[in-house]
Symmetry: C2
Subunit: 193 residues, 2 copies
DNA sequence: TTCATTTCTTAACTTTAGTGAACGAATTTA
DNA sequence: TAAATTCGTTCACTAAAGTTAAGAAATGAA
């Protein structure tokens, strides 16, 4: 399990045994059941999540309706807004599947960063990468229709379409489940004719 | 003009005269006319932009149509994706109004950062702030209808509605200019009834 | 397994956005 | 200033998404 983590880190910085042990000693690995809720609206938490295996989901409840805005799968990390500004969370985080996570709070991060400046370097790179990815995603979302968004997702994250319930996917695409069903039927129809 | 910059910076770190002079010696201030294009699709550039006064706009041309995805006004900065990965730009950047900018390329940044670690600190904070803002914006966009997005904009950035042409605003909201006109008429109608 | 709940799809109807065209107003350009 | 272009709005029509409801399929719990 730890190997997955160290393989990932090795893409950014190389670690000594000391450093690896420092990470392991933090006891950060968590195994979480499908459906479990990691963070609730209104809750304060310092925890950051990094998915080693499985899938977690970020969603709001607006007018009693779940609005899913993001999924995080293998090798993707999530720093909840509430962990940055120490305010109650505006959203929920839950597990789409049985998931193996790294859960690290901000203090741990600070501790590691001061002991091993390498980490700070890696975090900088990661956050820059993330910002860039985020911006491109947003632009793509804005400039395309629901149907295009679905086709795009089919190309870029085909796994999501398999592993995530339709109604969660729908709200991720900014539409209702019924519209997603219809839209899919429409696409099949086009490919026939 | 420089005062605007130093006032802004002073919110994050305090600068010595030396440091201020180091910044000024870079000769980074640019005055740009309305309509001027700062970056074109396909072009490579290392330049980052920071708006001191005025407004710049980021847009794609997709199937011959302009798709505006962002506006940057006073005290907002833009690091084009092409400046990070040294690839041709996928989008354009142009001036919505006569604008006073700071234009800094990546080398300058590196030079300042090594001379004055303070800057690196500030950049870290800024990029974290930006990422958080970006994520909230994206979530809001995804979870709301065009009409809600317009109402939201009216609250959060009323200045944009005044200073930006309607058709650019429309595509920023993810709709066509005709739909924005109609939507506005609809809102007025509601407030009458 | 059986029952209950959740999920997905379909359908009819409503609302809203996209499209193409027209027109006046505002802005540019010659 | 005059002509040309761009811009914003309106209209009629089309296409797509929202809404409400119903039923089938899949999932989960007792």
């Amino acid at each position: 399990m730890q190997d997955i983590l160290f393989d990932f880190i090795s893409k950014y910085v190389s670690l000594t045994e000391d450093e690896k042990n420092a990470i392991l000693s933090l006891d950060i690995f968590r195994s979480v059941k499908k459906g479990a809720i990691l963070l609730k609206e209104g809750q304060k938490s310092q925890d950051n999540y990094f998915v080693l295996k499985g899938c977690i989901r970020k969603y709001y409840i607006i007018d009693g309706e779940e609005k899913t805005t993001a999924f995080f799968t293998e090798m993707e990390g999530l720093t909840p807004h509430c962990a940055i500004n120490n305010a109650p969370s505006e959203y929920f985080i839950s597990c789409v599947e049985d998931t193996i996570l790294i859960v690290a709070n901000t203090d741990m991060g600070v501790e590691l960063n001061t002991k091993f400046p390498k980490f700070q370097l890696m975090c900088g790179v990661l956050s820059e990468e993330l910002l860039a990815k985020q911006q491109i995603n947003f632009d793509e979302f804005k400039t395309s229709s629901p149907e295009q968004r679905y086709m795009n997702l089919l190309q870029k994250r085909p796994d999501l379409i398999q592993r995530v319930p339709q109604h969660q996917l729908a709200s991720y695409l900014g539409i209702k489940p019924q519209s997603l069903s219809r839209l899919r039927a429409r696409i099949v129809e086009k490919n026939k004719g």
